[in-house]
């Protein structure tokens, strides 16, 4: 009984509010429309500004934030694509690394079977060019010396596109600096071999001109464009470091007893900034 009476009461209130409320609000809004914009309406607007301004500021924040959403989404998509590409590259590199490890192990086994002296691993240290002497442009002084394990006649290598390239040889060592003689210097020499004809010769510097590759056999089939690498016969340099490529061969002299070729060095002497100085590998004789 009590429940019914309270439900009836609620219903009556709802029915009353259904009639009164719209009438009140319509009346107020008509009054607001009819009133001049100055005076009470302007005061009401001022009061409302305290209520509505924070929301408008927040809305502006939303709009400003959403302006960058497009770029952010684009950036995320690009990062996702790059991530996929890098993952693929990493998988390929891991595969290549595994293959290289296998080849290395096979090489070790074959070397042992043939009772050859195992190839020495390259170890070294990166050094920065400290300064150049104006009178000796074909040499540089680097910021590493005896303290870092650099020894006289250590090979200096630069790296281009991930490949080591012969740059010079250490000719003076002090406690904290070393002087490196670059390839172009006339005092520089190294035993090298050509990649296809497999002929060995003596490479010497020739100043501003291309390097000289002397003592090639007369019947050598060496061609222009062949790569030149340091030879295992060299007492200073480890074998297999790229030096440059044959730019020309001198075959005109009828009385020569050997061939001479010109080699364009792969390392650019003028721009050498950092050098990898090879330290003596463990187990090698001093």
């Amino acid at each position: 009984m009590k429940k019914d009476s309270s439900a009836n009461k609620k219903k009556t209130v709802t029915q009353r509010s259904r009639k009164i409320l719209p009438a009140v609000f319509l009346l107020v809004s008509v009054l607001l429309i009819l009133l001049p914009l100055e005076g009470p309406v302007s005061s009401m607007k001022a009061v409302l500004s305290y209520v509505f301004i924070p929301q408008i500021r927040a809305a502006h924040g939303v709009v400003e934030y959403s302006k960058d959403v497009n770029e952010t989404v684009q950036g995320l998509l690009n990062a996702h694509r790059e991530n996929e590409e890098l993952k693929n590259q990493l998988r390929e590199i891991q595969l290549e690394n595994a293959q290289a490890r296998e080849v290395f192990e096979e090489n070790k086994r074959l070397t042992q079977a043939l009772q050859l002296k195992p190839p020495l691993k390259w170890k070294g240290i990166w050094a920065k060019t400290a300064y150049r002497e104006p009178s000796q442009w074909n040499s540089v002084v680097v910021d590493k010396g005896k303290a870092e394990g650099i020894e006289l006649r250590a090979a200096a290598v630069v790296q281009q596109d991930g490949q080591p390239i012969l740059a010079g040889v250490v000719i003076e060592v002090s406690e904290n600096t070393s002087k490196v003689l670059l390839l172009r210097d006339e005092d520089f020499s190294a035993v090298v071999y050509t990649s296809q004809s497999q002929d060995e010769g003596l490479l010497t510097g020739a100043g501003a001109a291309d390097l000289k590759l002397k003592y090639l056999p007369l019947l050598s089939t060496v061609q222009e464009g062949e790569q030149v690498y340091t030879s295992a016969s060299s007492s200073i340099f480890p074998a297999g470091i790229l030096v440059g490529q044959i730019s020309s061969i001198d075959r005109d002299d009828d009385f020569q007893s050997y061939l001479t070729a010109r080699v364009k060095p792969a390392a650019v002497s003028g721009t050498v900034q950092e050098l990898f100085l090879l330290t003596r590998p463990e187990g090698s004789a001093k």
């Binding site: 609000f25 809004s29 409302l48 509505f52």
Partner: protein, 162 residues
């Protein structure tokens, strides 16, 4: 009391979204009246004691930015609330189609009502072109189910609209 607090929070969220939608859709010359959809949704699911004040205050929020007339939106929104309460027995607001139809028709009528009120009381025409008119109504129809869903989910009593 809890419902009043919730309603105030929903109203504030609606004002923020309305302003943001106006700024974003303004790039395509579309004026979406999100406050009207919100007021209709509140009237569809809440008793008149909540619906009419919400409609009136939502209208006042839009009037706040007007410079020609003050109270026209409040008037139109109150009329729309009357329309929703008179239709509640004929339309099932739990379904999406009645929600979209109601939002579309009332947006159309409210836009026309605003134009008439402005012309009568301020002698000013606020016609923004057929593109803006149709775009606004289309957006209202599309967004109505989401607004109705949010209001029903957040404000309406369980089991019964009210």
């Amino acid at each position: 009391m809890k419902r009043i607090v919730k309603l105030i929070l929903f109203f504030m969220a609606a004002t923020i979204l309305h302003w943001a939608a106006m700024a974003l859709l303004g790039n395509w010359d579309i004026s979406l009246n999100l406050m009207l959809i919100f007021a209709i949704a509140v009237c569809a699911f809440l008793p008149p004691a909540y619906g009419y004040p919400t409609a009136f205050v939502s209208g006042l929020f839009l009037d706040f930015f007007g410079v020609q007339l003050f109270g026209q939106h409040a008037f139109i929104f109150t009329l729309c609330a009357c329309a929703v309460y008179s239709l509640e027995n004929r339309l099932e607001f739990d379904s999406v189609v009645p929600q979209m139809v109601c939002a579309g028709v009332l947006t159309l009528l409210a836009t026309l009502g605003n134009l008439i009120l402005l012309k009568v009381f301020a002698g000013f025409s606020a016609w923004n072109g057929i593109g803006s008119f149709i775009g606004g109504i289309s957006c209202s129809i599309l967004i109505a189910p989401a607004v109705f869903w949010a209001v029903r989910r957040g404000l309406a009593a369980k089991g019964r609209t009210y």
